[in-house]
């Protein structure tokens, strides 16, 4: 019977049906970081258990690493404690750790793919909600909490209920200045922040087929912002070409065999879906959030909604968002003055993101009132960008060029907003207080749009800038 990638992967990894009706699912790759794992290792120790599959477990440090000065011990004692705990736990259990200075450290969702650890047909778990990123390779990848991290460490399995599958077909060509980030913000805007609860999102269509792996990762990354714990793209030639030659990818004849298996795991053409949505890529514009969840987004040439005239249910949430943001209903989002510009995060800190942003800033200057920083997603991304001279482009324009980490996406390190600052951010969440100041405000957008906002000092449409550059 024709089936989806989700069903094929699920069936291949199902161990047994548990007495409560849930499925015990084998986890093929477990990624670990410093924030959600120390308690799990302690629980393991307290119960006298060990790590079952240290060879299927890999760790890095990303959330708390300082991006300005990484000398040990870290200036923040709590960050140092977390780093040391991770080092101790990895040493004790024989888990490979990609630490700062190893040349391979970075945001867990950037380094998994970069190392070739993330592969099609796998189940991947990590104590982080943006684990959906790895679905870009045709893996079933999901975020888990600390007790489940303990479960995976101890048993290499999880107790789960299956998901329904919604196919999101995006068709057509994106206009210049419109990126994967705009596509996923548009999807979430349409389907809502809880529209994906109970679903895995399968992204497909000609737009996805034409996208690079970096772009597919941006899309899958934000599935969870639409409520979907899992998002994936069927593996294809683009996927296989990306993987070939990566450190942990199979080599030689094994690669050929792997490739055949990977291809066999893709959804069959006649597979049935629980739901299907079609989106016209040509209609998507550069998109910006105006509110306090990622679904509160609009095209850069639109106006912020006014609570009057909305349904009662919506009115309250729009009012709450407007109050927090200090925006007036009906005002255009373009022209909103920004204080900070952040290019980084597991959503948009890969080499292609930095290249697009650098195109915009080359030869321009960041407005004096804007603090602007670029935080590459990994040490490898940073090195590759430096080899192309992108760091110089950013520095000359007035950006700070930092070391790899999660940084201002969630502000667990010293990079954070102050007071009511407004940040144009290439990250994934605009929740109240997300960027480290309880009253700080976040506008999510593509890296190119963040770069444009840094230069203009305010939210601005990146398309005319690109057109002008093209005419030069």
């Amino acid at each position: 019977m024709p089936s989806t990638l989700f069903s094929k992967v699920w069936d291949a990894h199902a161990v047994r049906r548990l007495p409560n009706g849930q499925t015990q699912l084998f986890v093929g790759l477990h990624l670990v970081h410093e924030v959600t794992s120390p308690q799990a290792f302690d629980m393991l120790r307290a119960r006298g258990w060990t790590v079952r599959a240290p060879d299927r477990t890999f760790a890095t440090v990303d959330h708390i690493v300082p991006t300005a000065d990484q000398r040990r011990p870290f200036a923040d004692r709590m960050a140092e404690d977390m780093m040391s705990a991770l080092e101790r736990n990895c040493r004790e259990h024989g888990i490979p750790l990609f630490g700062p200075g190893s040349g391979h450290q970075g945001i867990v969702h950037v380094i998994g793919p970069e190392q070739g650890l993330t592969q099609p047909g796998m189940t991947i778990a990590c104590g982080d909600s943006h684990t959906s990123t790895h679905g870009a390779f045709g893996a079933i990848a999901f975020g888990i909490g600390t007790s489940q991290v303990r479960d995976v460490l101890a048993s290499q399995t999880l107790a789960l209920d299956p998901l329904k599958v919604r196919r999101i077909r995006v068709e057509g060509q994106l206009a210049p200045g419109v990126y994967a980030k705009d596509v996923i913000l548009d999807v979430i805007r349409r389907l809502g922040v809880k529209g994906g609860v109970g679903y895995a999102y399968e992204y497909g269509g000609s737009t996805l087929a034409a996208m690079s792996m970096d772009e597919r990762m941006t899309i899958c990354n934000m599935s969870i912002e639409g409520g979907a714990r899992v998002g994936y793209v069927n593996p294809d030639e683009t996927t296989f070409a990306y993987l070939e030659g990566r450190p942990y990818a199979p080599k030689g004849e094994a690669f050929a065999r792997a490739r055949a298996w990977w291809a066999s795991m893709a959804s069959d053409p006649a597979a049935r879906y629980d739901d299907e949505v079609v989106i016209d890529a040509g209609g998507i514009k550069p998109t910006v959030t105006w509110g306090i969840n990622p679904g509160q987004a609009l095209a850069v040439d639109e106006r912020v909604p006014a609570p009057e005239g909305l349904h009662e249910a919506e009115r309250e949430s729009v009012r709450e968002a407007l109050d927090f943001m200090g925006f007036r209903g009906g005002a255009p989002i373009a022209g909103t003055r920004i204080d900070v510009a952040f290019i980084g995060s597991c959503t948009n800190a890969r080499l292609s993101d930095l290249r697009e942003a650098a195109r915009i800033v080359r030869g321009a200057r960041v407005r004096p009132h804007v603090k602007a920083l670029v935080v590459p997603g990994s040490e490898s991304v940073g090195r590759a960008a430096e080899a192309e001279g992108l760091d110089q482009v950013f520095r000359e324009a007035g950006f700070e060029w930092r070391a790899a980490g999660c940084s201002m996406c969630l502000a667990m390190n010293p990079d954070r907003l102050e007071g009511r600052q407004i940040c144009a951010s290439s990250s994934n969440r605009n929740f109240k207080g997300r960027q480290g100041s309880p009253t700080g405000r976040t506008l999510l957008m593509s890296p190119a749009m963040v770069a444009a906002a840094a230069i203009a000092g305010e939210v601005t449409d990146v398309r005319p800038i690109l057109r002008a550059k093209g005419e030069q």
Partner: protein, 229 residues
């Protein structure tokens, strides 16, 4: 506020697990029998927290995740939101509540278990809401914190009741799938797997997952990528 005291309401909660704090790291937990861990009914006072899409960054801001244990998290539950006048977690009338009432998509965002940990450590023993984010729901199950859904009308009626009378007793019955307050019963829903886990006391899944490890190894041997292609 956020004193983390065990509530009186929780004392009356049937089977609320009390012998150990989940995730506690004070050495080996005392031996518990299955019946200690069964959660059939939770009864106590309610705490109405209005609003859709309350995310885990609001429940526990990221700056409080800079720690290697869960201890003391309850002191920072809704730390930033609580600064707003009249926030229910800052309202002494609701101190000691054990049933949290929420609207739609509660617990969305980050997978941080710190969120349900902080809620449970504050004294909440069950959450009744319109809907929950999946990861938050799963994390809560693993802590023995039932999150049950009721209709918008049901949740609204409970919130109205508790706002009028904070001392009103709410009874969440996972067996009968009802929530009862002021003599009125509303139907609730709970995923069958989670319900069974609470009723049987097997919400801490690790033991179960380790039960027949040879079957786990067999699946590993069948997977081409585990074998090395």
């Amino acid at each position: 506020m956020g004193d983390g005291q065990e509530s009186e309401g929780a004392e009356r909660g049937v089977g609320a697990p009390r012998a150990t704090e989940p995730g506690g790291v004070q050495g080996a937990p005392p031996i518990q029998t299955m019946s200690d861990r069964q959660i059939v009914r939770v009864a106590g006072r309610g705490l109405p927290l209005r609003g859709d899409n309350i995310d885990t960054d609001r429940i526990i801001p990221a700056r409080y995740l800079r720690a290697i244990t869960f201890e003391g998290l309850e002191a920072h539950l809704f730390e930033d939101d609580r600064q707003a006048p009249g926030h229910p977690f800052a309202n002494p009338a609701y101190r000691g509540a054990s049933v949290l009432l929420t609207n739609a998509n509660f617990g969305c965002g980050s997978s941080r278990e710190h969120a349900p940990q902080a809620i449970r450590r504050w004294g909440i023993r069950a959450v009744v809401g319109q809907s929950f984010s999946e990861i938050f729901f799963g994390n809560s199950v693993a802590l023995g914190l039932p999150c049950v859904t009721a209709s918008a009308e049901g949740v609204g009626a409970l919130m109205d009741l508790v706002e009028r009378d904070p001392a009103a007793e709410i009874m969440v019955d996972l067996d009968g799938l009802t929530v009862t307050a002021a003599g009125r019963a509303h139907p609730i829903a709970l995923a069958p797997g989670a319900r069974d886990a609470f009723l049987s006391g097997q919400w801490d899944a690790t033991g179960l997952l380790l039960d027949r490890y040879e079957e786990v190894e067999a699946v590993g041997r069948r997977l081409p990528y585990v074998r090395g292609f």
